[in-house]
């Protein structure tokens, strides 16, 4: 809600229709801000709703999904309310998306040229010849050697790292203000991971807002300024990245930090969080984390969950945090 917010998501709710069962709430009242030219990490385990959150904002949910509430303010408009026609003009032009695996997110039977230029034409940004020039430049920008030649190849003819770069070039060719990266390093080799992160960091430094969806705090800390921790479709903690790493408040965030190999780095033994994330169709009442939480106090944790502000740009969804603070 701050003045310099590029994208403000408020109380987003997304449900999935199911056959012969109550709709499943995958995203339950999620709010966060992305500041202009900054990077936000949305951190959570698989199934925590982080991908669905961003796909809701982009309007690219599967047919069975429905957004049942909330706002997504971007450039003075509510993306959830403007309708698909208007949203399409934003999608891919002002907000672009990078996916987990370029192997799957790029069409195997179309050349890079086709895939890097088609949205320039869809959005009427330029003509075909100019689009090709921009695409070649975008490929060069992400560090693909000999882009004039590579643009004529198919995705499968590139190495994994080059393919991932090509996908980033595909997103950046329209010069979007916001880039959503959905686990962009999960499907690539460790050596490539670092290159991809460097590339995204560079984009951020050039002024592009970045939302990094990841399950890996080690990846998130690399260049993200802020973090949102999600659990079972809800935000459990929001904090500046360094504050979260130094002083996580929500018991789930504490557990997440303790269970990460890359984050610890202090020769601390790994402490996995006992249990597993809840099946969303049987979400625990109150705080969804309480059945796994070592500090849970019944019955309060099983009945209510409130989000408490605990500092500048910081809040956590645990009443015990307020007691401690």
């Amino acid at each position: 809600m701050s003045e310099d917010a590029l994208l403000s998501v408020r109380e987003l709710r997304t449900t999935f229709r199911r056959e012969g069962a109550e709709p499943l709430t995958a995203v339950d009242g999620v709010s966060f801000d992305v500041r202009r030219g900054q990077a936000l990490a949305i951190v959570g385990e698989s199934g925590s709703g982080k991908s669905v959150t961003m796909r809701s904002v982009m309007g690219i949910l599967p047919r069975t999904a429905r957004i049942t509430g909330g706002q997504a303010l971007f450039g003075g408009r509510d993306l959830l309310a403007i309708g698909d026609r208007e949203l399409r003009k934003v999608r891919g032009r002002e907000i672009a998306m990078v996916f987990q695996s370029a192997m799957e997110a790029m069409n195997p039977t179309l050349t890079l040229e086709r895939q890097l230029t088609e949205h320039l034409l869809w959005h009427g940004i330029c003509n075909k010849a100019e689009a090709r020039k921009r695409a070649v430049r975008a490929l060069g920008d992400v560090g693909i050697p000999d882009p004039e030649k590579r643009i004529r190849t198919y995705p499968f003819q590139l190495s994994g790292g080059m393919r991932q770069r090509a996908m980033i070039a595909m997103a950046m060719v329209t010069e979007p203000a916001l880039l959503i990266a959905d686990e962009p390093t999960t499907a690539v080799d460790v050596t490539v991971q670092r290159q991809i992160l460097d590339l995204l960091a560079e984009l951020k430094n050039r002024g592009t807002g970045v939302i990094m969806i990841t399950h890996d705090l080690g990846v998130a800390r690399y260049f993200c300024d802020d973090a949102v921790v999600m659990y079972a479709g809800r935000v459990v903690e929001r904090a500046p990245m360094d504050r979260l790493l130094d002083d996580p408040r929500h018991p789930y965030s504490v557990g997440l930090l303790g269970s990460g190999v890359e984050v610890g780095g202090r020769d601390l033994p790994l402490r996995p969080i006992p249990g597993s994330p809840p099946d969303l169709s049987h979400r625990p009442e109150g705080c969804p984390f309480h059945p796994r939480c070592a500090q849970a106090e019944l019955p309060r944790c099983a009945t209510e969950q409130e989000i408490l502000t605990i500092g500048p740009g910081r809040d956590a969804a645990c009443w015990k945090v307020a007691v401690d603070a």
Partner: protein, 325 residues
């Protein structure tokens, strides 16, 4: 270069397969009870086309193969002719050589087959796409129910029904014969319904699979208009595997369709083949059987080549081109 080697290998395989087919067919025909001369005697000229006397037939038979020649030698004599496209005279249509019958009847069957498969594709693709885009709705279920009915309906029933409707009742179309373009309508319609149903199912399931691909979502995330994304990214890739279904369907129809040709009095290959089998017309049976095998194998080769043309992943592997590396 790679392509030439590939084609060479395929040609060798084709020849070996043809030899195998010829041995198998010849053996089976030797084992089958009864021979042409016996059947002619039993029928005692009642159904003896062309009024050729049985004795002279036997004489002709003997003059070509020699009655006392051992079976394996008969086979070699036949094959010697076959390799230079000479299968000798038919027994039943004694005035004509087998290869002349094939040359005359095949274009008829092939024309019908090509038109029928083309029409089937024109019907199947929109229906399949339509159903896929409405997966699990009432429209989808109703469409697929109709398709299943179409599939279950044998072509001769369709043909008989259409003769009743269009020729007998409405008097719009000739009830059979092979004199002009109007004679094509009924057989092509009758022949295309079954394949259309088969193909529509394939289009639907293939389309459903492709629509779930991440690159379709990615294309939507680039701001692609839904229709464009469906056609360029989903439909295009869904139709590639369809070639492998349409090819054999085409081959099966090209080698003649006994019932429809009989019902509509069309001088195609299927009728000759059926008659040849019934009357143990050895040369005609051998000739048509080998020709069918050849057509089937050539179709499969063409399917594989088209597949390579449509899918760059196969083209570069099969064609041995290493562009871009």
């Amino acid at each position: 270069m790679g392509l030439a080697v590939y084609l060479g290998k395929r040609a060798v395989r084709l020849v070996l397969s043809l030899i195998a087919v010829s041995i198998l067919t010849f053996t089976l025909l030797q084992l089958a009870p009864g021979n042409f001369a016996d059947l002619q005697r039993v029928n005692s000229g009642a159904t003896n086309f062309g009024g050729v006397g049985t004795e002279s037939m036997v004489g002709e038979l003997e003059s070509r193969y020699g009655a006392d020649v051992p079976v394996w030698k008969q086979y070699l004599i036949f094959m010697k002719g076959a390799v230079v496209w000479d299968f000798g005279p038919s027994y039943k249509y004694a005035s004509r050589n087998v290869q002349d019958i094939i040359s005359e009847a095949f274009p008829v069957s092939a024309t019908l087959a090509l038109l029928a498969v083309l029409l089937a594709l024109l019907i199947a693709v929109p229906i399949g796409v339509f159903a896929a885009l409405r997966q699990n709705t009432k429209t989808d279920h109703a469409t697929m129910f109709a398709v299943t009915l179409g599939h279950a309906l044998p072509s001769y029933l369709t043909a008989a029904f259409m003769i009743l409707l269009f020729s007998a009742t409405l008097k719009l179309l000739p009830s059979g014969g092979w004199n002009g373009p109007e004679d094509l309508i009924l057989p092509v319609l009758a022949l295309s319904l079954g394949p259309a149903a088969v193909l529509a199912r394939y289009v639907r399931s293939s389309m459903l699979e492709t629509l779930r691909e991440e690159y379709v979502t990615a294309a939507l995330a680039k701001g692609g208009p839904r229709r464009t994304v469906i056609i360029r990214h989903a439909l295009r890739n869904s139709l590639i595997p369809l070639v492998t279904v349409a090819g054999p369907l085409l081959a099966a129809l090209m080698t003649g369709t006994v019932f429809v040709e009989a019902l509509l009095r069309i001088p195609g290959l299927g009728l000759y083949f059926a008659n040849a089998a019934a009357s143990r017309d050895m040369p005609l049976l051998m000739g048509t059987a080998m020709f069918f095998a050849l057509i089937l194998m050539v179709t499969n080769l063409v399917v594989d080549l088209i597949y390579g043309l449509l899918d760059p992943r196969i083209r570069t592997v099969g064609g041995g081109s290493h562009d871009g590396h």
